[in-house]
């Protein structure tokens, strides 16, 4: 477990600049909360809050899709895997790292959302439920991207991830709502995006649990694929 934690913390540390850049959006929300009349502008604040939530989902795909590629291109992966670290542990570290990076952002967004939205009538407990949904969605999206990044470059990995996450969402729209739960990233994202002051939404834990189970499944698949990959081969 110790190597997994070390790799995860190291990954989050390596991503500190993208995370700090992302946090600027949260600062924007906080700034709007400070300078505007939050009771009159609460719909605008909720819009910014949702926008910030969508950004972190996109970033989770970016984090997951580029993690292995960057490590292989820089050859830093050799230093890590030359130690007593199995490839499964390495992938676990990256999944945890992606989740940790997104969780830091979601925590900041949750704090700011609790202050700005909470003081204008949005249930604070629901703000944190939405953040849990967001972290679960990021974890699953990042793991799917990571799986593709074991054998594709980041551009194709991101495209393939968008397909895998988007197709169930489309099927959920046009075939039947149950299809949206096949890979519940869209459902979890929709929970955040569809919430409003008049109808914050119900706290259903099913998609969160499903995301956890599917993360495990995609991690297992990633580990299987990654065990066959020649990591010392140049990626260009």
């Amino acid at each position: 477990m110790k190597p997994v934690l070390l790799i995860a913390i190291n990954f989050a540390r390596e991503q500190r600049w993208p995370i700090l850049t992302l946090l600027l959006w949260v600062l924007l929300l906080a700034f709007l909360g400070l300078v505007t009349d939050i009771h009159r502008q609460r719909e605008d604040l909720l819009f910014v809050f949702k926008q910030d939530a969508v950004y972190v989902l996109a970033f989770s795909v970016f984090f997951g899709g580029s993690a292995i590629y960057n490590e292989r291109r820089s050859r830093r992966i050799l230093g890590v895997l030359s130690k007593a670290v199995g490839r499964q542990q390495y992938l676990s570290g990256l999944v945890l790292g992606v989740t940790l990076a997104c969780a830091v952002y979601c925590f900041a967004l949750g704090l700011t959302g609790s202050w700005t939205l909470g003081s204008t009538g949005f249930p604070i407990s629901h703000v944190w439920f939405l953040m849990v949904c967001l972290v679960a969605a990021c974890m699953l999206a990042g793991t799917v991207a990571l799986m593709f990044s074991t054998f594709l470059n980041p551009f194709f990995a991101a495209g393939a991830t968008a397909m895998v996450l988007g197709l169930p969402a489309l099927a959920g729209q046009f075939v039947g709502p149950q299809w949206g739960y096949v890979i519940p990233v869209w459902e979890l994202g929709a929970t955040v995006v569809n919430s409003s002051f008049s109808n914050p939404g119900t706290a259903s834990w099913f998609p969160v649990a499903l995301a956890g189970v599917e993360t495990l499944a995609f991690w297992l698949l990633s580990a299987r694929i990654f065990s066959y990959v020649d990591i010392a081969v140049a990626v260009e």
Binding site: K2, S82, V85
Partner: protein, 307 residues
């Protein structure tokens, strides 16, 4: 005799994803490295040295054949706890040197004050104690290579696998590495050293293998490899060169070689002529000469076989 590294008829082919072209980097490669020796692994660029090392470390899988590292099949993570590895191109995270070494030590299961102490110790060994708190991202290539060596040694490994460890080092640092390798051998550890610096290899390695086009072209004890049959080189002064066949004179020093069993007669002849013997040594070739011979003509090298 205990083998710490074994390659058994290993072949590695690289496939192109788009075209169906295959590149055979290793071709039926077999080799054993004994415990407690410094083993030199030589070969021209593209010979397959790094491929062999990467297979041993479990970074890739052989196309056919197998191998064992410290008694376990290649790729066994637990075994790597007992191995120190330095890659050809050192790539490290941008952290303070001491923290970096501690990070790699922690990945090997080390921790607490032992790790702190060991990290400081290995940084001192590689001469970076004054730079322990500097960001490795701002280090020169030579300094990075030293940090790389420090992280390879942090777990006090039984086997050190070093791929070009001195390529970016200045002469002083090379001496340091040489002493470090000899010290490791004296402590009972094994060193597997891949290098293009043949003079270094000649000085420290007990055995040498030359790899050429994915095949083992030569394997021998360094001393046996460098000795030229039963010839002795005699260096004398104060006599003319004309008295000995093939003698070369330079600045009053005459050198020639004779079959070892006739060296006594040759020395008596020198003394009878009033000459002075400067040195008598078994005739040796340099590793560079052998390397060039083996790698210049693959057919002739293959025909000489593995010793």
């Amino acid at each position: 005799m205990r083998f710490v590294l074994e390659f058994d008829n290993v072949t590695k082919e690289y496939h192109s994803f788009v075209s169906k072209r295959r590149l055979r980097a290793l071709d039926g490669f077999s080799l054993t490295v004994e415990a407690g020796e410094i083993f030199g692994f030589l070969g021209p660029n593209g010979a397959g040295k790094s491929t062999a090392i990467h297979l041993a470390m479990g970074f890739m899988r052989p196309t056919s054949g197998s191998g064992r590292l410290l008694g376990e099949r290649f790729g066994h993570p637990g075994t790597r706890r007992r191995v120190g590895f330095l890659a050809e191109s050192v790539a490290l995270y941008h952290r303070r040197a001491e923290r970096l070494v501690r990070f790699y030590g922690a990945l090997n299961g080390m921790g607490g004050t032992d790790l702190e102490h060991r990290a400081r110790q290995v940084l001192e060994i590689v001469g970076l104690q004054d730079h322990a708190n500097r960001n490795a991202g701002k280090f020169s290539r030579g300094m990075l290579q030293r940090v790389g060596l420090a992280q390879a040694m942090v777990n006090d490994p039984e086997l050190l696998i070093l791929d070009e460890p001195t390529s970016a080092l200045d002469p002083l640092a090379r001496v340091m590495v040489r002493e470090l390798l000899l010290g490791a051998r004296n402590a009972g550890k094994t060193v597997f050293l891949s290098s293009h610096l043949l003079s270094e290899v000649e000085l420290v390695c007990d055995r040498v293998a030359v790899l050429h086009r994915g095949r083992l072209a030569r394997l021998a004890r360094t001393s046996d490899l460098l000795q030229v049959g039963e010839q002795t080189e005699i260096v004398v002064r104060a006599i003319p060169a004309k008295h000995f066949d093939g003698a070369v004179a330079r600045d009053g020093i005459v050198s020639f070689s004779v079959p070892s069993h006739t060296q006594r007669a040759a020395l008596e002849k020198v003394w009878n002529l009033g000459g002075e013997v400067v040195s008598v040594n078994p005739l040796r070739r340099s590793l560079e000469e052998i390397f060039l011979e083996v790698t210049a003509d693959p057919k002739s090298a293959a025909s000489k076989g593995v010793q």
